[in-house]
Amino acid sequence: MHVHVITAANRALYLAEIEAMHRHRHEIFAKHYGWTALISADGLDIDEFDTPHTTYFVVLDDAGVLRGCDRVIPSWRPHMLTHLFPEYAQEEIPTGPSIWEWSRHAPGHPAWSEGLNREVRLLSSIALLEFAASRGIDGYTGILEARALPMAMRVGWKPRPLGAPVTYGEGESVACLCPADLSLLPRLRRMAGRAGPVLIELPAQASARRPVELAFGLDAPMASAAEAAIAAASLRSAGA
């Protein structure tokens, strides 16, 4: 299992994963969390902050199946806290080259095993820290659900509140700044049973092969993750 960074530069390699991500987000936020405002007939969660410039982390398992995702937006571009929910912050909202906003945190799925979900949660946090290291990010701003705070803190995040909690339909949320504490990385990697980085950032031109093909060492590009999985299965049965 690895976490892939999808950026403006390499998103052409990830069209199938991007669609799977929007579908996963709808599944989690609209169906499971019950954020009714996000329910959409096409089963995709896409909002005005999903642009070609938005950066995503997608957790892909060894079969190329999407197991979780996160969204980050640099604070010098329009982002939720400043442009949609400024009332969440009474403190000045941190912005600048070393601050990015983190949103749509959707690691795992309630129908999957707790072991898998735990690994995906860990990888997602590790990925955010590794990305912070690569981009010189000091912290991520974001709106956290109160009920999610203990889980985030247990991983080691120290979300500092930027304002009073806001009550919405399903509970309380708090605007926070989560400092990117790189000293957490060794422990988190150990907890996830990983010796090295989990983040993969494919350069735009380096390879026509996308992660699904890379996962199986296939040379020809596949149209979708599902196709790649079918190809892998047939390879396996041919071998047996």
Partner: protein, 252 residues
């Protein structure tokens, strides 16, 4: 005394921010209670408690997690299984929005048993309170109750600061509890190997020497000691030794 503390406005929120900053450094629930207790006191709050009010099966429960709470009231509440007719519990499991006790008592739907319970609480010095429910996705409901021996006159800014403190108090406490540092079962917070390594550090041995003695690599020794430092929340191995001795984890 007429009405308690009120109207500190933005100072309250700033005070909550400061307390939360300090809360991140708390290593035990006793430290946490001291830090957050000071902050809660700004609102006239003298008792605060985190309780599970509903489990994942949807059953009402009165499971007290942690907090500073009058013991006699806790025992009385448990003995009578009072969560079954507690207006505060009824609200908390029905709605994720915070509630001031005073509002609940004014509502027309207050049952006789519920009214009686508010009266009994008053006799134990819990005159007014404020509850912040947290509805988990698995159906469980945890709530933070803060109470005062007097009527709480709260401005909207006070409400906000109290909710923020409540949410963070609950989160800090759950994390400490999860790490085994909260309830005095400190021994469980270090593995046998970590204690063994620290014991040799105490005896003045280097990582290399400890590795030779214990029969593991120097690298693994460093890993155990590093992890012990993290669990004991110390910067250096010397501090970890001191902390472990204080907690009775290793012999002096």
């Amino acid at each position: 005394m007429e009405a308690a503390v009120s109207g500190l406005g933005d100072h309250c929120l700033q005070g909550a921010f400061d307390a939360i900053d300090r809360g991140f450094a708390a290593r035990t629930t006793a430290e946490l209670d001291a830090i957050m207790g000071d902050a809660f006191a700004q609102f006239g709050v003298s008792w605060f408690s985190v309780d599970q009010m509903r489990d994942t099966t949807g059953t009402l429960v009165g499971h007290h997690h942690f907090g500073r709470w009058p013991e006699d009231w806790g025992a009385h509440y448990l003995r009578g299984q009072h969560w079954k007719h507690d207006r505060v519990v009824r609200h908390a499991v029905m709605s994720p929005t915070p509630m001031h006790w005073l509002e609940a008592q004014k509502r027309g739907d207050l049952g006789a048993g519920e009214a009686r319970l508010f009266g009994e609480a008053r006799e134990f010095g819990l005159c007014d309170g404020y509850v912040t429910p947290l509805h988990q996705l698995d159906g469980a409901v945890t709530a933070i109750s803060v109470t005062s021996p007097e009527r709480m006159e709260l401005s909207p800014a006070d409400h906000a600061a109290l909710r923020l403190l409540s949410i963070y108090y609950c989160s800090f406490g759950l994390v400490l509890k999860h790490c085994g540092l909260g309830d005095g079962r400190a021994r469980a917070c270090l593995t046998a190997r970590q204690r063994e390594c620290l014991q040799w550090v105490r005896a003045g041995k280097s990582s290399w020497a400890i590795g030779e003695i214990v029969g593991i690599s120097e690298r693994t020794v460093n890993f155990h000691i590093e992890e012990a430092c993290r669990r004991l929340n110390t910067q250096t191995r010397q501090q970890a030794v001191i902390e472990a001795v204080i907690r009775g984890l290793i012999a002096l």
